[in-house]
């Protein structure tokens, strides 16, 4: 199955967009793993003005490397990567976190599902897959965000804040993330509803480590996310 996907990826048909911010210890490993598994995919890394050596560590052979000169946020980095993928002529875009939490093996099933043509966006769900070491607080926080998503968009998802997605960007070139920071996750669900995109959730494995948990979202930041989301909607 994997071979079919890889051989089909002529002229950068599939791009993996990776927003990057201060991940100098893990980014090299993440990119090497992706490169070895998907050598024909366009790997687009958008460094969001990291303070460490992430930018230079991400510069591996064949990687498309972009840099924000000012830190804008993950949502902005994703949008920059998506726009660049469109410029490269990509049809499908996979969004993938740079902290090593996502499992590259899952990309195959996401892309294959998109290629069937009856779905426009595939959303990763850690509650459908094998998630390792998820703290209880995180589990409840995600359940709350699931309720929030349902209340604001009417879509009932098992996991509304997962950075692992695959999008048929050729069909939806107007897919535009306007929320620069973390509220983009909720905004994407809103975009799905507004653009009437056909969506499906697929299991994805998340590997929680001490490193990744140390960089996770705090409860206070969740309040900021909700605030950003509402203000962003009001100002549309």
């Amino acid at each position: 199955m994997l071979k079919v996907v890889l051989n089909d990826n002529k002229n950068n048909e599939i791009a993996i967009v990776i927003p990057l911010y201060n991940e100098e210890f893990v980014i090299e490993g993440v990119l090497k793993e992706l490169k070895s598994m998907y050598p024909q995919f366009a790997l687009i890394v958008v460094d969001d003005s990291s303070n460490d050596n992430s930018y230079s560590k991400a510069c591996l052979e064949g990687i498309f490397l972009l840099k924000h000169t000012v830190n804008l946020g993950q949502g902005a980095a994703l949008q920059t990567g998506i726009e660049y993928a469109i410029e490269l002529g990509c049809k499908y875009v996979v969004t993938f976190d740079s902290d090593g939490q996502h499992d590259p093996k899952d990309i195959e099933s996401f892309v294959n599902r998109l290629k069937m043509g009856d779905i426009d966006i595939v959303l990763g769900s850690r509650f459908l897959g094998k998630t390792q070491n998820m703290p209880i607080s995180k589990r409840y926080l995600l359940k709350l965000s699931r309720m929030f998503t349902w209340l604001t968009t009417g879509l009932w998802l098992t996991d509304s804040h997962n950075g692992f997605r695959a999008i048929n960007i050729k069909r939806f070139p107007n897919f535009e993330i306007k929320q620069n920071r973390m509220a983009h996750a909720s905004e994407i669900i809103n975009i799905i509803k507004t653009l009437e995109m056909r969506y499906e959730e697929l299991p994805c494995n998340i590997r929680y480590s001490e490193y990744s948990m140390g960089k996770g979202q705090s409860m206070w930041n969740s309040i900021n996310i909700v605030f950003d989301y509402f203000v962003g909607n009001l100002m549309k």
């Binding site: 958008v46 990687i63 498309f64 490397l65 924000h68 804008l72 902005a76 100002m235």
Partner: protein, 108 residues
């Protein structure tokens, strides 16, 4: 007391000049600023008027009225500034994004 009143009127006049003669303001905004300026000058010169206006709106005293107006204006200014900063954010994002795409490189 007169010195304090003079000081307040001078400060208010400086703020008025800055706001009223800003080229970006629309006519109704300028009229609103002129009206606000005149009302505040009257209140400073004769605080008794603020009591009368307060009674018209069933607000305790003129001091309460001034406090409410101050709170309302401060909140409004905060909202206007926040919306303005968001607009700048959007413009800055666009510029940074275009530069990032223009300077994109394929590592070798």
């Amino acid at each position: 007391m007169i010195i304090i009143k003079l000081f307040l009127i001078i400060v208010l006049s400086i703020i008025f000049i800055l706001f009223a003669f800003s080229t970006k303001k629309r006519t109704f905004q300028k009229l609103f600023v002129v009206f606000g300026y005149l009302v505040l000058v009257v209140f400073i010169v004769d605080p008794g008027y603020s009591d009368k206006v307060a009674h018209l709106f069933s607000i305790g005293t003129g001091k309460d009225l001034v406090l409410y107006i101050f709170a309302a204006i401060t909140s409004l200014i905060n909202i206007v500034l926040y919306i303005g900063s968001k607009g700048h954010d959007s413009a800055i994002t666009k510029i940074i994004r275009e530069n990032a795409k223009k300077d994109a490189k394929k590592c070798r």
